[in-house]
């Protein structure tokens, strides 16, 4: 048992966010937790408000249990969904297997420690959904002394069954199929899937909140068990009924009995996992039959592929883009972001939130024929290119291996231009999508297109060059995980703020001057052609000199 505690503790510490390491890890960790909590607070408030509305309807008819059943089952389903990627990381992609397999511990201890580590990760997601429901339920029914321990035990035990299910599913998939053998591809797919899931949930919540919840509708949804989804999750997690009864009858003999039954069901799920895991997981990772899950399978011998000749600039740009698309961290932060902002904009219109944007159609029609619209195009190009963090992490992404590009007989000035071009190219995707959203939803007149086609690229080039220069002067080359080069790189934040401020400043100046569209267009084009040319010149000369001195 002592081995199990120690190993679980080590695995959890090892899996924690790298931001919390180092001498000032405690302070950083606390700040990080506070920031995360603040970020999720609005979602928790929304869930609490929905639960409050539901209880206001269900309370008088004595059907509070319906809300609890729905909340427990839905939380279990979410943990099962979110649990699959985290289980994969903990069991298979943790890079600790070789060290763990040689330890003189029983297989059940190793499996249990892995299971508890995966479980620990899920408590945060569970808290997000269940704490608001428990809090609202307590406010409605009164926080009785037996309710609090019952709620605490249920909170601790609820993820056991879904995590056990996720573990089994992952073990079967990893043992018998080639699924998820490509770690990068899996991480990217899982990242996008989770993002879509979170967006869909947020969409549902926003829609429910802003459209005003009809009490009759809530009763109808809960009485029918939440439709097809409710039916599925109730069947998938039948043990949740014990948890519901334990809360409803908290303090009574029936309450304790149901709590015991829920604990027994959770223990049973864990007990089933252990022998199954020994067979599926440990044999799988040790290579005892089935498909290999560790090293890449030996490819069949083949003919030498022809290598076509191309320009050095295109080759360098291609390499930049390939790395951005293939590395899961860079992909999520630098590529997906370009598609995300247009989706967010649509999202605000479709859910009807936001006082101005939600007016959607025709919103920008009034700006037609005004100079500020042209300032908007320029600003959009800047902001979209800065948001993707490609330019502002261009040098940092090379990390300690920066020598591998410094050795190339490709002048540093061209390398910097290629890096800026990658940022502008990806920024162009976001701009193009925003333009489509603008034309289709916000009523942007087609007559504004020629100005957009000229001014947006000028904004993109401005953001791409300034981003590369900022990162060149203050590169973050020492990192042990790619997230530090992008997500934990202050250059990205500084560059975003700089570009947003510049865009806002230009917008304000044009608005204040009262310039017409032609005047604004000509003036902005002339000024930013000169600024962009100066920035390119700066990369060409000073930038190349700084690059040549970079060492890691």
């Amino acid at each position: 048992m002592r081995n199990l505690f120690r190993l679980t503790w080590v695995l959890i510490r090892n899996a924690r966010n790298p931001i919390a390491s180092g001498k000032r890890g405690g302070l950083k960790r606390s700040l990080f937790i506070v920031l995360i909590a603040l970020a999720f607070l609005p979602l928790m408030v929304q869930i609490g408000m929905l639960a409050d509305k539901a209880l206001a309807v269900l309370g008088p008819i004595g059907q509070e249990g319906m809300l609890l059943a729905f909340a427990f089952s839905l939380t279990s389903l979410l943990i099962l969904t979110f649990g699959i990627p985290s289980v994969l990381v903990v069991y298979y992609f943790g890079r600790d297997l070789e060290s763990l397999l040689v330890l003189p511990i029983r297989p059940s201890v190793l499996l249990s420690a892995k299971f508890f580590t995966a479980l620990a990760v899920e408590y945060a997601a569970e808290a997000l959904f269940l704490i608001p429901v428990f809090a609202v339920y307590g406010l409605h029914q009164g926080f009785s002394a037996p309710l609090i321990p019952a709620a605490g035990v249920i909170f601790l035990l609820l993820p056991v069954i879904p995590v056990a299910m996720a573990s089994l599913l992952v073990m079967i998939a990893m043992r018998f199929t080639g699924l998820a053998r490509n770690r990068d591809r899996f991480a990217k797919t899982a990242g996008v899937a989770l993002m879509v899931l979170v967006l869909a949930m947020n969409f549902g919540l926003q829609k429910a909140e802003t459209s005003g919840v009809d009490p009759a509708q809530i009763v109808a949804v809960l009485v029918t068990g939440g439709g097809i989804w409710g039916f599925l999750i109730n069947r998938l997690f039948p043990a949740c009924h014990f948890a519901v009864k334990a809360v409803l009858s908290a303090g009574s003999a029936a309450g304790w009995l149901n709590l015991g039954l829920f604990a027994a069901a959770s223990a049973f799920a864990f007990a089933v996992l252990l022998p199954a895991g020994e067979h599926l997981y440990l044999r799988g990772v040790r290579g005892g039959g089935g498909r290999k899950t560790g090293a890449a399978a030996q490819p069949a011998p083949g003919a030498f592929p022809r290598l076509k000749a191309g320009s050095a600039f295109v080759a360098y740009l291609d390499r930049e883009l390939k790395i951005l698309f293939r590395d899961p961290v860079f992909f999520m932060n630098c590529v997906v972001t370009n598609f995300l902002w247009p989706v967010f904009t649509l999202f605000v219109v479709l859910t009807g939130t936001g006082s101005t944007l939600s007016r959607g159609p025709g919103l920008l029609l009034g700006l037609a024929g005004k100079g500020v619209l042209n300032a908007g195009w320029l600003g959009l190009g800047m902001v979209m290119t800065a948001m993707n963090a490609v330019a502002s992490s261009a040098i940092s992404r090379e990390g300690r291996e920066i020598g591998s590009v410094k050795i190339l007989p490709f002048p540093f000035r061209y390398q910097l231009i290629a890096k800026a071009a990658a940022a502008a190219l990806l920024g162009a995707i976001g701009c193009l999508l925003m333009l489509v959203v603008g034309l289709a939803v916000f009523g942007v007149p087609f007559s504004a297109l020629p100005a957009a086609i000229v001014l947006m690229p000028l904004g993109m080039v401005f953001a791409a060059c300034t981003g590369v220069l900022i990162d060149l002067f203050f590169p973050k080359l020492y990192w042990d995980n790619a997230a530090k080069a992008v997500k934990q790189n202050m250059n990205v934040l500084i560059h975003m703020a700089f570009c947003a401020a510049t865009a806002a400043g230009v917008f304000w100046l044009v608005k204040r001057s009262g310039a017409g569209p032609e005047q604004a267009f000509l003036c902005l084009t002339a000024v930013f052609l000169a600024v962009d040319a100066a920035l390119i010149r700066m990369m060409w000369t000073l930038g190349a000199a700084v690059f040549s001195r970079l060492e890691a």
């Binding site: 090293a295 069949a300 030498f304 000749a309 410094k406 050795i407 490709f410 001195r549």
Partner: protein, 241 residues
């Protein structure tokens, strides 16, 4: 030919990695660069290739100063770093194409050389995989192929035999000998003294950033006593210094 004159390099203003190093590596021979860990070997090689800038002194490759004509110097160098963990997200063939494009190798030459070297190092079947999925030895081999694609005049290798299987190790030694016979410059660092003894025409010994010896093995033996092994001579030199 590589000419290093009075080169020094200090890290963070404190750690003197290379201290007034003067060394000439002539073409037509294999020169081994020996020294204990932290002696300044990798720093020296990185300065020759333009990855690091020297604080003082000058480095010329085929008569061209690395600080004045960096791109021209890099064009004639083939460099194999001590750590082959680079360009890991590229597939083997993409990496080779990238290197060939960077060095401006013609389509006919790149296909002939890459095809031949990939076959020699038994890498043809792995070219469709990303470098990330390669073992250390496979990464070492693909970097070697990439460094040879432009048929460099000057071949610089940092601990090239680490991680290579015996057959690949033998092949690499043959390639080094062939290049030396063809009048090219071959300069490599190693810890494996046996390899240096059997492979090198000349050796240079560096310790704490200073050059202790540069010459043929015979000259070294004359200095240390006729029956001394390279290992013995090396240990005596680095202990005395």
């Amino acid at each position: 030919m590589i000419e290093i004159e009075g080169v020094s390099k200090t890290y963070n203003g404190k750690v003197k990695a290379v201290d007034g190093l003067t060394l000439t590596v002539a073409e037509g021979g294999i020169v081994g660069f020996l020294g204990p860990n932290g002696a300044g070997k990798t720093t020296t090689l990185k300065m020759i290739t333009g990855i690091l800038s020297p604080d003082a002194g000058s480095i010329r490759v085929n008569g061209m100063d690395i600080t004045k004509r960096p791109v021209d110097v890099k064009r004639v160098i083939g460099y194999v770093p001590d750590n082959p963990d680079q360009f890991l997200k590229l597939k083997g063939r993409e990496y080779l194409r990238f290197m060939a494009d960077m060095y401006g190798v013609s389509e006919a030459d790149r296909n002939e050389r890459a095809g031949r070297l990939a076959g020699t190092f038994e890498m043809t079947a792995s070219l469709a995989e990303t470098l990330q999925s390669y073992s250390h030895g496979m990464r070492q081999k693909i970097v070697l192929i990439g460094a040879l694609l432009h048929d460099p005049d000057v071949f610089i290798l940092d601990e090239p035999l680490t991680g290579l299987d015996p057959k690949s190790s033998f092949t690499l030694k043959e390639i080094l000998r062939e290049r030396a016979r063809a009048g090219r410059t071959v300069f490599f660092s190693t810890h494996v003294l046996d390899v240096a003894e059997r492979l090198c025409d000349r050796v240079a010994v560096i310790h704490r950033g200073k050059l202790l010896f540069s010459g043929t093995l015979e000259e070294m033996k004359t200095r240390a006593g006729a029956d001394a092994t390279l290992e013995r001579m090396f240990l005596e030199m680095t202990e005395d210094a």
